[in-house]
Homo-oligomer: 241 residues x 2
């Protein structure tokens, strides 16, 4: 990238894009090269590099420490999008996963919006489970799950703090899960979620809505995950055909 | 959801989750039912419903108009994660896609970070293309693309404003694309990107980094897309096995 082209903000953004990709590729160990060296590698002036590093700091990709330099923030935990897996099933590769169970109970008359989504009779009961998930003792996500009663009730006796719901459902029901429809949004943290996830209000989050079905197609699990975007990225390898 | 449980902020968040899922499911036409009716359907008081609607307004899912009520914001354009497709290839289902070409040129000595990522010799040239993409005349994404020179050069003579790069690459090279490695981040908009995409500074965006390979495995296209999250969501159906 030549510095003559575009505004300085444009140049910083382009440099930030390249640098983010390199970091995610694992091109750097813990500490980034100094600004001058980075500038050579990126074809940019030090001022532009500095601005790009500030953008990546705001994204949570790096931290900047006076006297030390620019550090790669702990690698973002990756969540694949090829197969349906519980978050914890994957996150164990990145650290120790713990869950604080905030709610776990039968709701006698589930609201119509829930019974419709789960294909339950009107005024049916449903099971609600809410967990705050941490990775290496730092909050990562807030998971809210509505379950069909026959699937959810047996879970309430289980060790919800330590296990993935998907694995528990398959174990207690003796049935395999089939597939899930997933929608991923990017949002900013409202004050309450920010407090629970220990981020600043307005920080970037993923909201992942997931409706999971048994192998026979019946929807049994409607959940919303709010995930800290400074600690988490989605990954996929997509075939063209 | 029973209103006795958890703090009011907790209850509003849970109601917002259910309502967002219902809206994405297409359960409502343009205008949402009034707060009292929604409250019945969601098992919540009007105050909690109002707070939930405000959260969804901040997420860009609904707009609230005095005297009219709560409107479902234009459906978010969906981008599937099952196959590698250009954004425009999919977005045409949601409206008219136009591209403003901000840059399209040969960079004589591409920075090392780029040549390494694309597997090019050191100091090789590369092609840089930057486009601001709009859907129905409103900005949707800012796309920055670095291309291997043999792939990128022929594109510079083409009508970049009207076509997807993927389709153009396959056409001019006579080669099929193979696959792409994709990483999706959620970030907040820096001032420059906010201005270009016509959103508030700090608004939620997706950053999608994508390294695309030809069918023979050679990486030829390294791009970063910054996409407005109020107009865009990622979708997938994930199989368990």
């Amino acid at each position: 990238m030549e510095d003559r082209d575009g505004s300085r903000a444009d140049r910083a953004r382009r440099v930030a894009d390249v640098l983010r990709q390199r970091i995610v590729d694992g091109a750097y160990e813990e500490v980034l090269p100094d600004e001058r060296t980075l500038g050579r590698s990126l074809g940019a002036t030090r001022n532009v590099v500095r601005e790009a590093l500030n953008m990546l700091r705001d994204e949570g990709v790096v931290t900047r420490r006076r006297g030390i330099g620019t550090l790669v923030t702990g690698q973002k935990a990756g969540h694949g999008l090829a197969r349906l897996v519980g978050l914890a099933e994957e996150l164990t590769a990145y650290g120790t996963v713990t869950n604080e169970v905030r709610e776990a109970r039968v709701v006698p008359h589930a609201p119509p919006a829930i019974t419709q989504r789960l294909g339950l009779p009107e005024r049916s009961e449903a099971v609600y489970i809410e967990r705050l998930r941490s990775l290496d003792a730092e909050p990562l996500s807030l998971d809210s799950t509505w379950l069909a009663p026959d699937i959810g009730r047996p879970l309430l006796d289980r060790h919800l703090a330590g296990r993935d719901l998907f694995a528990l459902i398959e174990e207690t029901s003796g049935t395999r899960l089939g597939s899930a429809e997933v929608t991923v949004h990017a949002v900013t943290a409202d004050p309450d979620t920010a407090r629970l996830l220990d981020v600043a209000e307005g920080a970037a989050l993923f909201t992942i809505d997931r409706l999971t079905r048994l192998a026979d197609g019946r929807p049994v699990d409607a959940e919303s995950l709010r995930v800290r975007a400074d600690r988490f990225a989605l990954r996929a390898v997509l075939p063209r055909d």
